[in-house]
Amino acid sequence: MNLNRRWIEKGMQWGLFLTAFASISVLVMIAFFLFTEGLPIFKKVSLKAFLFGQYWYPTADPTDFGIFPLIVASLAVTLLSALIAVPLGVMTAIYLAEVASFRVREIVKPVVEMLAALPSVVIGFFGMVVMAPLLQNTFELATGLNLFNAALMLAFMAVPTICSISEDAIYSVPNNLREASLALGATHWETIIRVVLPASISGISTAVILGMSRSIGETMVVLMVAGGSAMVPAALFDPVRPMPASIAAEMAEAPFRGDHYHALFATGMVLFGFTLLFNIIADIIANKYRQVGEATL
C-alpha cells in the first residue's frame, strides 16, 4: 500500500515534469519542421539572393525568390504601427496605473482586454470596408489598401499587449518611491515622469518589444489590408506585401514540395527568426534590468 502510494507519487511527478516540457518541445519541433521544409529552396537560390533579392516572382518564368521587399514591408508596417501603438499603449497604461480611480480602472481594463480579444480577421475586414474607402477618398489615392492602413489596424492589435504589460510594470514600482518623491514636493505628474517611469522602463521596453513582435507576426490584417504588392515601399500610402501575407496568400496555390512551397517555408523561417529575436530580447531585458526593491535605482 505504502509502496504503491510512493510509486504513484513518483510517477505523477515525472509525468508532470515531462508535460512541462511540452511547450519547449513544440517550439523545437516548429523550428525543425520549418527548416526541413524550408531549406531545400537554398539549393535553388543562395541565402543572400533569397534575403536580399529585390524580386518576388514565385510563379513567373523564370522564377525569382527574393524576399527583400517582403522583409522591408514587414518591418515598415511594424515600425509604423509601433509609432502609433507605443504612445497610445503606454499613456493608457500610465492612466490606468497612476491616474484613474478604482472605478474607471474596473471599466477600462476589460475594454483593453476585449480589444485584445477581437478576431484579427474582423479587424482586417473593418480596415477593408471602412478605413480603405475613407483613406482613398480623403487622400485621393489609387487604393486605400496600403502600408498606412495596415499599420493603423495593426496598432490597435498591439495596443492591448503594450498597455497591459506596461501597466504591470508601472504597478509593481514600490509605493515608497512615489511617497518619497511627493514628500520632496514634486507634483504627481513630476513623480510619474521622473520617478515612476524611470523605475519601470525595463518593463515598458519589454512591453514595446512584445507588442512589435505581435505586429510583425500578425497575418490576417496584413493579408487583407496591406494591398499585396511585392515591392519595396517608397511612400506611406504604397501597397505592400509583408511576409505573413505572402505565406497565407500563396501557400494554397504552391505545388506541394515545389520551389515555391519551400520558399514560403523559408519565409516562415525568417519570420519565426524575427519573432524569436524580439522575444529573447524582451526576456533578457525583463530579467536583467528587473527592478528589485528600490536598491538598484
Binding site: 504513484i8 507519487e9 505523477m12 511527478q13 509525468g15 508532470l16 508535460t19 512541462a20 516540457f21 511540452a22 511547450s23 519547449i24 513544440v26 517550439l27 516548429i30 520549418l34 504612445p87 499613456m91 493608457t92 492612466y95 477600462v108 483593453v112 476585449m114 480589444l115 480579444a117 477581437l118 478576431p119 484579427s120 480577421v121 474582423v122 482586417g124 475586414f125 473593418f126 477593408m128 471602412v130 490597435f156 498597455c163 507634483t187 504627481h188 505628474w189 505581435r214 510583425i216 507576426g217 500578425e218 497575418t219 490576417m220 487583407m224 505573413p244 505565406i247 497565407a248 501557400m251 494554397a252 517555408f265 516562415g268 519573432t275 524569436l276 524580439f278 522575444n279 529573447i280 524582451a282
Partner: protein
C-alpha cells in the same frame, strides 16, 4: 501654478489615450452590429450557404468554429494544467525552470501563420492526418497552450498555502494534496482561462487556413478527419476571394457579427467571472 497646469494637461492627455481605446472598440463593434444585425436571422443561423455562397446561412461555419475551438481546448487544457501544476507546485528555480519558461514565452510569441505552417508540415503531412478537424484542433491547441498555462498558474498562485499545509498535515501525499485540494480550489480560475483560450481559438484564422478550413462544404462533418468550414475563414473568403464580393457584403457583416458576438461574449463572461473570483479571494 505652471506645474499644476502641466500636470492637468498631461493627465488629460492620458485620459484621452484611454478613451481612444474605448472608442476603437465601440466604433468597430458598433459598426459591425449596425451593418450586420439585419443579416442575422434564424435562417442565417440554421441554413448552409446557398448559390455559391451568395445566399443562405452559415450553420456549417458556426458548427466548425465550435468544434475546432472545443477540440483545441481538449488538447491545450490537460497539457496546460499539467505544465502549470509542475511549474507552480514542483519546480524549484534553477536553470531548467528558466529554460521551460523561456520556451513558454517564446511559444506565446510565435506568429499564427507559423503555427499554420507547422500544422501543415507536421500534423497534415508528416503524421498523415490530412486537412481535417483533428489537424486544425491540434494546431489551435498548441497555439493556445501558453494562454492556458498562464491562466492556470495564476489560479494556482491564488490558492493559499494554508490549504496545502493543512492537507499535508493530515497525511496526504503531495500529489493527493494537489489533486484533491489545490486543483479543486483553483478550478474556477482554470475554467476562466479555458474560456479565454476558447475565445482565442475561435477567432484565429491563419492557423486553420492550411490545416482544417475549407472554402465550401454545405453538409456538416461526420468525423474528425473531415475538412470543415469556420467563421473566421468564411469572412476572409467572402471578403476577398468570393465570386461576388459586393453582393455578399450583408453576409460578410452578418458572419462578422456572429463571430464577434461569440468571441467577445466568451471573453466578457470570463472577465466578469474572474473579477468576482478575485473579489472573493480578497
Amino acid at each position: 501654478m505652471i506645474r499644476k497646469l502641466q500636470q492637468h494637461v498631461f493627465f488629460n492627455l492620458f485620459r484621452a489615450a484611454a478613451t481612444v481605446n474605448a472608442a476603437a472598440l465601440i466604433l468597430l463593434t458598433g459598426f459591425i452590429l449596425l451593418k450586420g444585425w439585419r443579416a442575422v436571422t434564424w435562417t442565417f443561423l440554421t441554413q448552409p450557404p446557398l448559390d455559391s455562397m451568395t445566399r443562405g446561412g452559415i450553420l456549417p461555419c458556426i458548427v466548425g468554429t465550435l468544434v475546432l475551438s472545443l477540440g483545441a481546448m481538449g488538447v491545450a487544457m490537460p497539457v496546460g494544467v499539467a505544465s502549470a501544476v509542475y511549474l507552480n507546485e514542483y519546480a524549484c528555480g534553477g536553470r531548467l525552470l528558466r529554460i521551460i519558461r523561456l520556451g513558454i514565452n517564446n511559444l506565446a510569441g510565435v506568429p499564427s501563420i507559423v503555427f499554420g505552417l507547422f500544422g501543415l508540415s507536421f500534423f497534415v503531412i508528416y503524421l498523415k492526418i490530412g486537412v481535417s478537424i483533428l489537424a486544425g484542433a491540434l494546431t489551435l491547441g498548441v497555439m493556445t497552450l501558453p494562454v492556458m498555462i498562464g491562466a492556470t498558474e495564476e489560479a494556482l498562485k491564488a490558492v493559499p498555502d494554508t490549504y496545502r499545509e493543512a492537507s499535508l498535515a493530515l497525511g496526504a501525499t503531495k500529489f493527493q494534496t494537489i489533486f484533491r485540494v489545490v486543483l479543486p480550489a483553483a478550478m474556477p480560475g482554470i475554467l476562466t482561462g479555458g474560456i479565454l483560450g476558447l475565445s482565442r481559438a475561435a477567432g484565429e484564422t491563419a492557423p486553420i487556413m492550411f490545416t482544417a478550413a475549407v472554402f465550401f462544404r454545405p453538409d456538416l462533418p461526420e468525423s474528425i478527419f473531415d475538412e470543415i468550414m469556420a467563421l473566421p475563414y468564411h469572412i476572409y473568403v467572402l471578403a476577398t476571394a468570393g465570386t461576388e464580393i459586393e453582393k455578399t457584403r450583408p453576409l460578410q457583416y452578418g458572419t462578422s457579427l456572429v463571430l464577434i458576438a461569440l468571441v467577445l461574449g466568451m471573453t466578457l463572461a470570463a472577465i466578469l467571472y474572474r473579477t468576482r473570483l478575485r473579489r472573493r479571494m480578497r
